[in-house]
């Protein structure tokens, strides 16, 4: 059984549907006992870092998440909250990954094809894989991302995307995995990544 952590940063339903398409049962819960005993934990999220962290703290889910021993997959805001600090609302985060989360600086809009807008919305490539999450995946692979903040490259970087500058499309440290993009919305490539996570022993 996979536990999907329930908190105030939605898009939980899409993750559950994606696991369902892969034939995996999951439960959306904020119950500490259920989360602790799950085979794997998914920590999704779309929204603002500050209220999300506050919500986790009020329910002591912050301490629970960092103490988990089974494979944990953070998605989007989940990845950002697993870092040390986010510029969004000047928020202290969980500190699983020793990375700072910063806002993209939009480049001035001008003619030509090198215009950068914020948020980044759409399909971009991931490359430079350093995690079992990306087994059996083309290199590069196309994934769908929607975000205004990013974690820089660092020692835990497990895949890279280039938007304005190269950043951590994925992070991994021990049993903690995280992706900035949405595997549940990333077509066949996303399904492969979720399958790889499910298959981790």
């Amino acid at each position: 059984m996979i536990a999907i952590i329930k908190y105030n940063a939605g898009n939980v339903q899409s993750v559950q549907y994606a696991l369902q398409r892969l034939g995996v049962q999951s439960v959306v819960t904020d119950d500490a006992a259920v989360i602790t005993s799950a085979d794997k934990v998914v920590f999704p999220g779309v929204g603002h870092a500050a209220p999300a962290m506050q919500y986790l703290k009020e329910r002591q889910l912050d301490k629970l998440i960092v103490s988990l021993q089974q494979p944990v997959l953070g998605i989007c805001l989940g990845l950002q909250l697993m870092c040390t600090h986010s510029e969004e609302g000047d928020t202290a985060c969980l500190g699983i990954f020793d990375e700072q989360v910063r806002r993209f600086n939009p480049e001035p809009v001008q003619g030509g094809n090198t215009v950068f807008k914020v948020p980044q919305i759409g399909w971009n490539t991931i490359y430079d894989y350093a995690s079992v999450l990306f087994s059996n995946l083309p290199n590069p692979a196309y994934v769908y991302a929607v975000h205004s903040y990013y974690a820089a490259l660092g020692s835990d970087t497990a895949a890279t995307t280039n938007y304005i500058q190269p950043y951590s499309a994925a992070l991994q440290k021990n049993n903690f995995y995280a992706v900035q993009f949405h595997p549940e919305k990333s077509g066949a490539a996303g399904e492969t990544i979720l399958k790889n996570f499910i298959s981790i022993k």
């Binding site: 779309v46 929204g47 809009v109 003619g111 807008k117 949405h182 996303g190």
Partner: protein
């Protein structure tokens, strides 16, 4: 590099796809989920479902439809048509929609854009604008599916909406829609080159060259079309193969 997006649009009435569709490979051409699945398998980057159901009562079928789409489709999708309240949107997002598009209701009550952006984030608020070039050479905002003219310039409303929190603009040119003579390059370019958010061009797609033009000449971030895909005049795999030498496209 971020890819340019190809977005098929499905018009939905009472939970079914409307406009004639002649796909032989799907069992039920009226079922939006089957058509959406087919497009998704063919390489569509995103889908837009536009609900044109007339009555509020029948709109409840939309939530059921969103659930089925989300359960079956593994690419992002936007739902639009008649959305006028935060509660409508919450229900759609909770059931798996990635974004919603707002049009007339947002123009009449711009606070709606801000409320939606504050509640759910600007990334899920798509502002749809129907625009028409008048004899004075300016592009004006039209409401209610193009039936009502306003005196507001399209660029002014787009700027205001982005400032209020719209995360994307879906721009449909009424001059071009249905002509198959190409997208409106001037107004699309004007918006895409001056707004800090992505612009989806809509209306006028007839050939693959038209997509190349709107990406290269107008800097559109995405291009939306309906009938050329529904009637199989252009196949999505062929279109993406054609575009590959010119713009960054997802393979």
């Amino acid at each position: 590099m971020l890819c340019k997006r190809i977005i098929p649009c499905l018009d939905i009435k009472d939970g079914r796809t409307v406009k004639g569709i002649n796909f032989e490979s799907i069992r039920d051409a009226g079922d939006p989920v089957e058509l959406a699945k087919l497009y998704s398998e063919q390489g569509a980057d995103e889908l837009v479902f536009l609900d044109i159901t007339a009555t509020v009562e029948k709109r409840k079928t939309l939530v059921e439809l969103v659930k089925r789409i989300a359960a079956n489709i593994n690419i992002p999708f936007t739902v639009g048509g008649g959305i006028s309240a935060v509660e409508n949107v919450e229900e759609l997002l909770q059931n798996g929609a990635d974004k919603v598009s707002v049009n007339t209701a947002a123009f009449k009550n711009p606070q709606l854009v801000q409320d939606l952006s504050n509640a759910f984030g600007s990334q899920c608020v798509v502002l749809a604008i129907d625009t028409k070039k008048e004899a004075d050479g300016n592009w004006y905002v039209y409401l209610s599916g193009g039936r009502t003219k306003t005196d507001t310039l399209t660029i002014d409303w787009a700027r205001q909406a982005v400032a209020l929190g719209a995360g994307e603009i879906l721009l449909t040119s009424m001059n071009n829609d249905g002509t198959k003579a190409g997208f409106a390059l001037d107004i699309t370019g004007q918006l895409a080159n001056s707004l800090p958010v992505p612009v989806i061009a809509s209306g006028g797609a007839g050939t693959m060259q038209h997509f190349k033009d709107v990406f290269e000449q107008a800097n559109a971030d995405a291009a939306l079309a309906a009938s050329i895909f529904h009637y199989k005049e252009i196949g999505i795999p062929d279109l993406k193969k054609y575009l590959q030498p010119f713009v960054t496209i997802r393979r």
